[in-house]
Amino acid sequence: MSDFIKLTNVTKTYTRGKESISIFDKLTLSIPKGDFVAIMGPSGSGKTTLLNLLGGTDRCDSGEIVFDGEHIEGYSEGQLAAWRARNVGFIFQFYNLMPVLTAAQNVELPLMLTSLTSLPSQKRKDNVATALKIVDLSDRAGHKPKELSGGQQQRVAIARAIVSDPKFLLCDEPTGDLDRATANDILKTLQQLNRELGKTIIMVTHDPEAARFATRTLHLDKGQFVEVTS
């Protein structure tokens, strides 16, 4: 299978005062299209930094980051923002929904950014309705986040992540704030998106139960992959 996401010799260092902390030193990673990868590791292993680099919210010091043939390591802030809008769907641990917007309005947000803005209003509403239907929340479209349970809020966040049909989904501890049963529901939904819609998913998690829903798990420690399990 060809590489859909490829990191080659990526180096990342943070500076705190006079101290330099190396997070990655020549990290290399390949993820094929349609993969569902869980990334695990102890605190400080570099999981969040890797997620930031993959999501284009942070830049590496050196090396190459290529998505579907597109190099993003040299992009400016503005270019990265546009690239994220076109290609990435984000799912956060604490859902990060806009409290003043309804579920449907939250889901519609990414459609304000891409070429989909030129869609007729009705078509946009259809897309939102479809995304909410996929996460089984059609009946909650008019509800605001505070009127929804944690699991429902995370479903809205998933609908927001997929509504613009991004090339891949980045999930940061998507079940970290949920009970086991609700977490499993969310993970099944992600699995469905991967299997039925072919979405490439990269999920950072501390939870081995959650990692079991992925097709493979990468273990990260001190900035290096130490183990791969399928």
């Binding site: 969040t48 076109r86 956060f92 604490f94 950014l113 803005t117 940061d172």
Partner: protein, 392 residues
């Protein structure tokens, strides 16, 4: 299209989230409203006074003072000079076929102000038979004009409003003499409404002014007749007098009230604005801080820094516009049309009404929006620089 859409969405979210910071937002709105109300109140005061002075002058009436006199009180014109003035060109004729000229004198008498119960100066004007004819704005509202040669007075409606004891039929004492009120006249928006009028020869006699006057008002056939009349006066060495149109005379006095606005009203408004600006900045920084995660999330999704900036900026402008509307409404309800009086150029009280006009509202609105703009720009920049990493 995308930039407009995302900016519109962020603005909408910011504005709709204002209730989440209700009390802080209310404090900002109220502080801006206070700035607007105080500034507008002061401008309305100055505007009302200025408009009253400007409205008093007619373009085809000439006012004559002694050369070098700035006001009527320190002017003297002799009887012989009045006769020479009446012989000039372009003077309008009255119904009796005689030139419309009114030789007048003005004295300061005491009255009790209704608002404070204290003594204040009032102008008592002695006018001739043409006194009404040279003032087209004046109309008798009640009673009749004074009878020539009698101790009767007519009272301006503004003076009646501001001073106690001048109602129809009342008797008033000035010095050793008593006077009876026989009429009330009105001349809306002019200084004349703040005067008492009596027969000029009676005033001359009772106040020991001999046969001298202080001013002469001459009605010309049209404003175009003015240059010829001025040339006539300049050409006669016996007429060492200061001549100008009544309109120019009052406009010059109105200009002085403009200085009040310039040196007191605006500095006061600007000093208060600094306080309101501090409140606005505080509110908007708090808004950005409380929405840090939301802003970062939008930035992660792909929203631009510009949309985050505009969201914060528009929230500040909405708050300042609400403050401006509240301040304007309060000022209009409390002050617009309110009767007041202050010392005029003749060291006597001029009654006028506060005027909150569209131009003043516009100026106060601009000041409020400037507060909103400055109060929004720095927090807006902070929002625009919010790092997407915060969302994770």
């Amino acid at each position: 299209m995308s930039l407009m859409n995302q900016t519109g969405s962020v603005i909408m979210m910011n504005v709709r989230s204002i209730p989440q910071r209700l009390w802080m937002s209310v404090a900002t709105v109220v502080s801006i409203a206070l700035v607007v109300a105080v500034l507008l109140g002061f401008l309305a005061l100055a505007n009302g006074f200025s408009q009253t002075l400007k409205g008093s002058g007619s373009p085809n009436v000439v006012i004559v003072l002694r050369d070098g006199s700035g006001a009527e009180l320190n002017s003297v014109i002799g009887r012989d000079q009045i006769d020479l003035l009446a012989a000039g060109p372009g003077i309008k004729l009255g119904a009796d076929g005689k030139p419309l000229i009114s030789a007048e004198l003005m004295l300061v008498v005491d009255g009790i102000k209704k608002s404070s119960g204290t003594k204040a100066n009032m102008p008592l004007r002695g006018i001739g038979p043409n006194g009404l004819a040279v003032r087209s704005q004046v109309r008798l509202r009640e009673g009749r004009m004074f009878a020539p040669g009698s101790n009767e007075i007519v009272v301006g409606a503004g003076l009646l409003r501001e001073f106690a004891g001048f109602e129809m039929g009342k008797t008033i004492r000035f010095g050793a003499q008593t006077w009876r009120v026989v009429g009330v006249f009105e001349a809306p928006g002019t200084v004349f409404e703040s005067e008492l009028w009596a027969d000029a020869p009676v005033v001359q006699s009772l106040f020991n002014r001999g046969t001298s006057f202080q001013t002469a008002r001459i009605a010309l056939t049209s404003p175009e007749a003015m240059p010829a009349y001025l040339a006539y006066i300049k050409s006669d060495p016996r007429l060492q007098l200061k001549v100008q149109s009544e309109q120019a005379y009052f406009a010059a006095q109105a200009e002085r009230s403009g200085l009040l606005i310039k040196y007191v009203g605006w500095p006061l408004g600007l000093i208060m604005s600094v306080g309101a600006l501090a409140g606005a900045l505080n509110t908007m920084y708090a808004s950005v801080a409380s929405r840090a995660s939301e802003i970062a999330t939008l930035r992660v999704i792909g929203f631009s820094g510009f949309s985050a900036f505009m969201g914060t900026m528009c929230e500040a402008l909405v708050l300042s516009a609400l403050g401006a509307l509240l301040g304007t409404a309060a000022c209009s309800l409390l002050f617009n049309g309110l009767s007041a009086s202050t010392l005029g150029a003749g060291f006597t009280q001029v009654a006028f009404r506060l005027q909150v006009g569209p131009e003043l509202v516009g100026q106060a609105m601009v000041l409020a929006l400037v507060i909103g703009f400055v109060g929004g720009v720095f927090p807006g920049l902070r929002a625009a620089r919010q790092r997407p990493l915060l969302a994770l």
